[in-house]
């Protein structure tokens, strides 16, 4: 569903991502973890079409992002780490805006929008301007809007930032349910326990390169650690890279 082949991204002399190749299958919940500055956000931006790679190809559901960006983007729902929105729209207007932008039929929009807004506990504030929302509410609105067009792929950058415990539990369950229904999720996070709990597979990126992918056992094997959770494997893999 998501195919990255030989992705490189340079900012001047700095190589943010180097030779990243990865495939995420349909219905898979893929966790993407790494230290600060490892290249996670750059990768997410490349997958969602916000940034063009210096080299390499991105395919979403078999569609080349460089050649057919509009078709590819129609299949993605992006949830960025910081919920910057159009502050002068109300929550419901924003949902209608997204529906129009993604070509969701107008007749169906309201019902689905209401359902999602209820799910994300925003129903009582939908007619207020977004500028009056808290950070967590904006984050929930972004999530609701990203799911409005029922995307085949959901790309998430730090999903739990700003959410309250109830919100975190709801999002955790939702992601598992979506994956069960066949949606592909690519999730970048610093919360290792979340990645360990919900992800089918995890990729660890460090210094712009993918150092290991797989389930917990495979990561442990790659890190050559016998026990412990994801944290031990993660620290061992990124420490090794730091002092080869």
């Amino acid at each position: 569903m998501i195919e990255l082949q030989g992705i490189h991204k340079r900012y001047g002399r700095y190589e943010a991502v180097r030779d990243l190749s990865l495939t995420v299958r349909r219905g898979e919940l893929f966790g993407f973890i790494g230290p600060n500055g490892a290249g996670k956000t750059t990768t997410i931006r490349i997958i969602s079409g916000l940034l063009a790679p210096t080299r390499g190809t991105v395919r979403i559901d078999g569609i080349d992002m460089a050649r057919e960006p509009v078709r590819a983007k129609r299949r993605i729902g992006l949830i960025p780490d910081r919920p910057f929105l159009y502050e002068k729209l109300t929550g419901m207007e924003y949902m209608r805006f997204i529906a129009d932008l993604y070509g969701v039929e107008l007749g169906r929009t309201d019902g689905r929008a209401v359902e999602l807004l209820e799910m994300f506990r925003l129903s009582d504030r939908v007619h207020e301007l977004i500028e009056s929302y808290s950070h967590g509410m904006k984050q929930r609105l972004v999530m609701a809007s990203a799911l409005l067009h029922a995307p085949a792929v959901v790309v998430v950058d730090e999903p739990m930032v700003g959410l309250d415990p109830e919100g975190i539990k709801m999002v955790r369950d939702l992601f598992r349910r979506l994956a069960g229904e066949g949606t592909t999720l690519f999730m970048s996070t610093h919360t290792l326990s979340l990645a360990e709990d919900v992800c089918d597979r995890i990729g660890i990126i460090h210094n712009g390169g993918l150092v290991a992918t797989g389930g917990l056992e495979e990561l442990r094997a790659a890190a050559r650690v016998a026990g412990g959770g994801l944290e031990s494997a993660f620290l061992a893999l990124t420490r090794e890279e730091r002092s080869p």
Partner: protein
Amino acid sequence: MRAVLTLLGPRWRAGRRGRSGPGARWRTLVFLVAGGAFWAGIFAVTFRVLTYFQSVEGLGDVLARKLLSMVLVTCLALLVFSAILTSLTKLYLSRDLFLVHSMPVDSGEVFASRWLESAFDSAWMVVIYLLPVFLSYGLIYRAQILFYLDIGLAIVPLCLLSAALSALAVMVLVFLLPANRIRSIFVFLGLAVLIILYVTFRLLRPERLVDPEAFNTVMIYLNAMQSPSNPWLPSTWVYDSLVAALSGRDGACLFNAGLCWSAAAFVFLLDLQVARWIYFPGFSKTQTTRSRLIRSRGSGWFGVLRFLPGPIRALVVKELTAFWRDETQWSQVFIILALIGIYLYNFSVLPLNKSPLPTVYLQNLLSFLNVALAGFVLTAVVGRFAFPSVSMEGDAFWIVRSAPVSINAFLWIKVAIYVLPLVVLSEVLIVASNLLLRVTPFMMALSSVTLFFLTPAVVALGVGLGAAYPDFSSENPAQSVTSMGGLIFMVASAALIGSVIVVEAGPVYSILLSEIHGRALTAVQWGWLIVSFTVAALLSVLGILLPIRLGRRRLEG
């Protein structure tokens, strides 16, 4: 004091890095050349006017002093207006205020650092463009060194005093009202003051300074010119100080400059004390109050624009709704309406019958030149609204970038949104001014058609160059027209309008002459006419296509 300097440090360092970034040298050069040309223009005009005044026997000095007094009053109004807006932003609305207020620094010192920034930002441009005016006075009156020293000695405290008075007013009002509402109210009040000032200035008819015949007797004229200024106005102290320096009265010069300094120091010290009492409580209040002047229960645009395809409707509705709900935008609309009124009023008072040229010829010539003038008004409006429209997306631009809409479509939609109202605006301007000029039907048709085709080109230039030089992180994107990209847009738009006018000028002149003399056009003239209008149309088409292509490439790159 040390804390004040520390708080000013990031601004100073960011400014230095801004000047040493990529393309900084080129940017600085362009700014210097454009700014220098404008500065030289002000100097040339002032020098020419003062030279003319000197030739009016017995009245020259009276006229020159009256002009100086008017310049200083206008300058004071501009300084206060500008300081109100900048101090409101610097003291209450800047993004870094959370960080600053979390530091172990006294409120008075936070205020002082912010006030210094605000005083500088609100005054530097006014001061720079006042200098050529004063320089002209110095040269014409062969002033001593004291006059040149007094320029700094009197103008600096005027700026500080304006900033201190504005900050005091802002602090008190924010303490009494929520800040978001304050900004809207101040923009309205400020613009109202500006418009009233301009209209008053217009009704004073400064052109009468050079037309004593307009008065019944010399005595009435002299009385009108010599009426004393208000002694409570700080601009009067600056005026008295400068005039004393010009006439070699050193004591009076220093006394009046001293008045300015002492008043500035007193108000600033008062500000510091007031800041310790109410600045932080006011800031704290702004963080908990979110309000708007007008509350809306929902946008009806979705229903009205149901016929449009989804992505187009989405962007159009978003643009219209955000514009309608941003009160600072309406105030800009009001000022544009006021300027249109003044623009048309100026045409109605043109003394065409006093000209040595034949009236019919002059009317049509003015009508043709009016295409350029209306084009420049259009450029200013596009610079204020269409140019910043891409930057206005701000941090939310990720929504468009990640959406299934191409950047090309996004830019064309922006152009389409602004073209319709601006075509109406430019046509109202040109048709109304042509009616006031009573031009021939040919000139009416020509100027209307020319502007009809120029408007989309100027709008596309604005949107395209705004996309090529975006500033998504700006706290006030509406001001992006004062950036490098804005300058390029202004120059490109003026060049486009100028080129079209030049290309059309030849054939229009021959048509006008043939109409006046009752002769038919020759075959060569017809050919010239067709070629000229084709080139003008091509220029407009290129003006539409090229900037959008550039903007798309820059945004996608």
